[in-house]
Structures are given as C-alpha cells and as structure tokens.
C-alpha cells in the first residue's frame, strides 16, 4: 500500500507538469485553433532565461522576469509569425511554421548559453551544502510516504494558475471577450470585440505559463539541457487530447490521468517497461473510441 501511495504521489508530480503544458497548448488551441508544436521549446527558452537571471536575483524573481519576457514574446510570435500565415487559411502551413519554430527555438538557447547540462536553483525548501547554490529537494513525510517539496510546489502552482485563469475567463470583461472569440470569431468581431488582441493574448498567456512551468520542471530534475521539454510534450499532447483540447479543466484532469497511469504502469506492468509511450497512445485511442471529442470537449456540428 505504501508503494502504491508513493507511486501515486510521483504520478501526481509528473501529472501536474503534463497538465500544465497541456493547459498551455489548450490556451492557444481554443482561441486560435492552432496546435503549437513549439510549446515545449518556447518554455525551454524562457527556462534558460530564468536560469540566467537566477544568478543575480532570487529564483522567484527570476521566474517572474522570465514570465514577463515569455508573455511579451508569445504575443510577438503570434502577431509577427502566426497571423499572416493564419490569414492565408492554410492549416498545414501554420503547422509548418510551428515546426520551424520548434527547430529554431530549440537551437537558440544552445547557441546563446552552450550545450552543457545546467542546474536550476530550487524555488522551494532544499538542503544546500555550503557553496552549493542548487541543493537537494527536501521532502515531507506523510505516514510512510515521502512527498517531495517539488510535487507540493508544482501542485500549488497548478491550483494558483487554474484559479487565476478561472477569474480571468469568468469574472472579467476581457475573459468574456476571450471566450466569445473562442466560440465564434466572426460573430464576436461583429459585436465589436478586438479579435486580433484576444488571439495575441492567448499566445501570450500560453507562453507565460510555459515560462513558469519550465523552470519548475528544470529545478525538479538534477540538471537540464535543450531536450528538457521534448519528453514532456508527447505526454502533454495526450493529456490535452484526453481532456478534449478546448477545455481548461480537461487539460488538467487529462494531465493527472496520464501522469498517474504512467507511474502505476511502470511499477506494476512489466511488459510496458521501456515502451511507456504506448500508454498515452492507448489512453487517447480508448477515450476517443467512447467520446470522440475527449472527456470534456465540446461536440462540433458539421454542415455540408
């Protein structure tokens, strides 16, 4: 039982990461209908920035700075690179642009900061030997299960992000505009909503969220390099697909389901050892066979 609970906690830790990246994907998808393959790499770049800033300012401030840069950068990418291609109404070309961004942004931090593995200071309680800035993460004992502060911090971050997004979407005028554009861009333009601004905001929020998640993921592992987000992205994609791709709640739940399922299968299902990617695939297929629009997705009506 202890082992089971321990794996559950580990799964929640991973699940929060998948859910957060899935959430970033959903923020872009529901406003612009674009599947952003560069999501992980955008987060990677801001992670490197946070790591650089953390040398001169406290970690929390460094992440805040990275968030601001990510927020602005996301808006610029949408306006400069995505929108002109979007307007040409060719979905494949938008995919190519995000793939181009994937390759380009992945190479950028390696060019600027080098290809060596780096260590991120931890923004949560950790034991540091004298002279060691990074330290090791402390854990809290709950009964026989040890809960790492990394998991607690990630979970708190997730709750805070969800609460803020809920407030933004449900309680502000801007959020109403965002939801209107997501549900019907043409009509929302007709009633005077600045659709272009909301599209930019979708990308900005998404890139900003990546700038918060990335440094936490990097701090949780012992070291990070340019491949930090690539493994996460596949699981995040499946989390978003499970949740239904246009649902914020769905992304979070999907992330937790994938994370916990991953932790439990690696513990209890031996034949899947080494081919863990099979699991999210089977999960997506299984869910889509029963609910073609994901667990929380909206049905779309097709007109001939």
């Amino acid at each position: 039982m202890t082992l089971f609970l321990q794996q559950l906690v580990n799964g929640i830790g991973n699940g929060v990461v998948y859910g957060a990246v899935a959430l970033a994907l959903v923020l872009i998808y529901r406003t612009t209908g674009v599947l952003n393959f560069a999501q992980g790499e955008m987060a990677l770049f801001t992670t490197y920035l946070a790591w650089k800033f953390a040398r001169s300012v406290p970690v929390a401030a460094a992440i805040a700075l990275a968030f601001v840069i990510g927020f602005v950068g996301g808006a610029i990418i949408e306006r400069v690179l995505i929108r002109p291609v979007e307007e040409a109404r060719s979905p494949l070309n938008v995919v190519i642009v995000t793939l181009g961004l994937f390759l380009g942004i992945n190479a950028l931090p390696q060019l600027i900061f080098g290809t060596d593995s780096q260590q991120m200071p931890k923004p949560w309680p950790s034991d540091a030997a004298p002279g060691d800035v990074v330290g090791t993460t402390r854990a809290v004992k709950v009964g026989a299960v040890s809960v790492s502060w990394a998991v607690i911090a990630l979970a708190l971050m997730m709750v805070a992000v969800c609460a803020l997004l809920w407030l933004l979407f449900q309680k502000t005028r801007l959020g109403l505009a965002l939801r209107a554009v997501a549900s019907n861009p043409e009509s929302s333009r007709l009633v005077g909503i600045n659709a272009g601004l909301t599209l930019m905001l979708g990308w900005a929020l998404s890139a900003g969220l990546g700038a918060i998640v990335g440094p936490l993921v990097a701090a949780r592992s012992t070291g990070f390099d340019a491949s930090l987000m690539q493994g996460v992205l596949v699981f995040a994609f499946s989390a978003a697909a499970l949740g239904g791709f246009d649902s914020v709640l769905g992304a979070v739940v999907g992330g937790l389901v994938v994370g916990i399922a991953e932790a439990l299968t690696t513990q209890y299902v031996d034949p899947l050892n080494g081919i863990e990617v099979l699991l999210p695939l089977l999960l997506i297929l299984g869910v889509l066979l029963i609910r073609p629009n994901g667990l929380f997705g909206r049905r779309t009506v097709e007109r001939v």
Binding site: L281, I284, L288
Partner: protein, 362 residues
C-alpha cells in the same frame, strides 16, 4: 477526362472545393514537356557527373521524395494529417535490415517485403484512424513516431546489443557491371521513384483518386453519393504507409544503417516528409519530388555554411522553413503554376465552366 483531373492548382489547400480544371494552355503544355525532358535527362546523367558523396545526397533526396509522395496521398489528397510516417519509414528500414543482416536475403528482394510490411502496419493504424480525425489523428500518429524507436530499443539487438543494424559492404553492392555502388543505389532509388510516381499519377486520376479528394473536401457529401468512407480512408492509409516503407528500405541501402538508438529520429523523419510535401506543393504529383530536393539541398547548405557550429544548422533550417511558407504559401509547384499562368494568361474559352482560374484573372 481532363476536366475532372484531381490534381488542379485550385486544390492546393486542403479546404478548397473546385475540382474542375481548365484545359491546359498549349504553351504551358509545351513548356511542361521541355522541362520534363530536361529534368529526366539531368536525373539520368547526374550520377556520372557528381562525385560519390554528392550521389549519396541525391539518393537521399530521392527516397525522401518517395516517402513525401506517400504522405501527400494521405494528407494532400485525402486530408488525413499524419506526423507518424517516420514510423512506417522505420518499419521499412528495419524490415530490410533484419532480412539482410539476420536472414541473409539479397537486398533487392527486401524492398517489396518492406513496403508490404509497412502497408500492413498502416492498415492496422488506419482502422483506429477512422474514429480519430484531424488534430487527434495528428497526435496519435505523433505518438507512433515516438513509440517506434522505443520498440526498436526493446526488441532489436544489433551488434554490441544496440538497436542498430548495419549491412556488410557486400550485402548492398551493385548488381550491374560498370556501375559503382553509389551510382547503382542512385538508379535503383530513381527506378522506385519513377514507379511510385506513375502509380500516384494513375491512382489520383482514377475513380479511387476522385473518391479520396471527395472525402477530403466534403466527407458527408462524399458518403451520400456512395463513397465508402472507411474503405477509402483505410486503404489510402495503407498505400501511403507502403510508400514510406519502401523509402525506409531504400534508406537502409543508401545510409547503410537502420537505427533506433536516437529516440526522436523517426519523429524528425516525419517532420521532414511533411516539410518536403508542403514546400513542394501539397496535393500535386511532382510537388513532393521538388520539395524533397529543396529540403535536402537546403539542409546540406545550412550545414556547410557554418564550420564548427553544427547547432546553427537547425536554427537556420527552421528559419528557412518559415520563410518559404511566407513567400510560397502554395509550395514551389503552386508558385511556378501561378507564374506560368500569369505569363501565358489569356481569357478562358467560353465553353468551359466559370469556376476556373479565379485567383489569377482578378
């Protein structure tokens, strides 16, 4: 039958719906024949003109063209987006690799087997793909591309226990007198490319090809006029996978390796196929060939541009990709067509339907 040809410029984007194509201008037809003859002559003479290293690069462009052509059938003509064709490519490469290295087959005999095995895998993937559409299909196929190297790492053991198969030099040697190994590999790949191009051309211009396009443009409408949606989609998936499998098999001869040590290698392949297709021109016959040449030459040149900074290459490649999509949103073939119709433009004859060339006549 030219009025219902399914390869019109009007269909470059997956969402447009004007399947009727104007009769070809005689000047354009003449130009096409000249370009075709010159290209064929150049393709046949190339391996004698270039050194062996360059021939290898050209052969790589040819097998990339074969895979991109397969993806084009599925994505360009049938509207099912796949980011997992790298997995079928890998299936082809490993089928040939296992047969040659472990079973001692002659290499040439493994090409059709590789295509067949990939087609069977494609069929297996095609059935769930019936339920999964658009974005979700792209994701499931993405998972496939990531899964394949993991399967390879788990089940394939080459020399030294790593999932890496390498033929000995004699296994893939030239069968023809007077041709060096690199020239033979080039011609064999070219032969397969010609075969699949002819196959694609006749398929696209057949009843089945029109059904594929109809399913892409208006699934519901296609079903009401009697197109068997499931059959068309699954078979297109299988044929498309067979192309990628044949390309993978050829890559085993040219690159002399079937490799699953790199976890993202087949994902990168999938991206290459997609890029070659879109850069050349989706839903055109020759687009994938032009796109494959462009991609291979572009990558090679970005690699040579900067000595000792290999990491700059993907950055430049990514930037070049975005630039191409900006300059030529319909791909190279689309751009060339627009150019020629602008040069030879004349008002359409009164007998044809008015749905023609609307984008150039304004």
């Amino acid at each position: 039958m030219t009025t219902t040809r399914a390869s019109g410029r009007e269909q470059a984007g997956p969402a447009t719906t004007t399947p009727i194509r104007p009769p070809i201008d005689p000047k354009v037809r003449g130009l096409r024949i000249v370009v075709g003859v010159v290209a064929a002559a150049a393709a046949l003479y190339a391996p004698f003109y270039f050194p062996a290293a360059q021939n290898k690069v050209l052969s790589q462009a040819l097998y990339l063209a074969i895979a991109a052509m397969g993806l084009n059938l599925l994505t360009g003509f049938n509207g099912q987006v796949s980011i997992g064709h790298g997995a079928f490519f890998g299936v082809g490469a490993f089928t040939s690799g296992l047969l040659v290295v472990k079973q001692g087959w002659p290499y040439e005999a493994t090409i059709p087997v590789a295509a067949l095995v990939a087609a069977v895998v494609g069929l297996l993937v095609g059935f769930p793909a019936l339920r999964v559409r658009g974005l979700y299909l792209a994701l499931v196929t993405l998972g496939l591309a990531v899964l394949f190297p993991q399967l390879g790492q788990k089940y394939v053991k080459g020399s030294g226990g790593v999932p890496l198969l390498q033929p000995s030099l004699t296994d893939t040697k030239s069968l023809l007198q007077g041709l060096a190994d690199d020239q033979y590999a080039y011609y064999l790949t070219l032969l397969v490319l010609v075969i699949v191009t002819l196959l694609t051309w006749s398929l696209v211009n057949s009843r089945a090809g029109r059904a594929m396009v109809a399913v892409r443009d208006q699934e519901l409408a296609a079903a009401t006029v009697g197109v068997n949606l499931a059959q068309v989609k699954v078979l297109t998936f299988a044929i498309s996978a067979a192309y990628a499998g044949a390309a993978g098999s050829l890559s085993f001869m040219i690159d002399r390796v079937a490799d699953a040590t790199n976890p993202v290698i087949y994902f990168q392949r999938s991206i290459e196929f997609l890029v070659a297709m879109v850069v050349g021109g989706a839903a055109t016959i020759t687009g994938p060939i032009v796109g494959a040449l462009a991609v291979v030459l572009l990558r090679r040149n970005t690699e040579q541009l900067i000595e000792g900074k290999p990491i700059l290459s993907p950055a430049l490649f990514g930037a070049a990709l975005i630039a191409i999509v900006y300059v030529l949103p319909e791909g190279i073939i689309g751009g060339v067509r627009r150019l020629t119709s602008r040069v030879t433009h004349r008002p359409p004859p009164p007998s044809t339907l008015t749905t023609t060339t609307s984008d150039t006549s304004v």
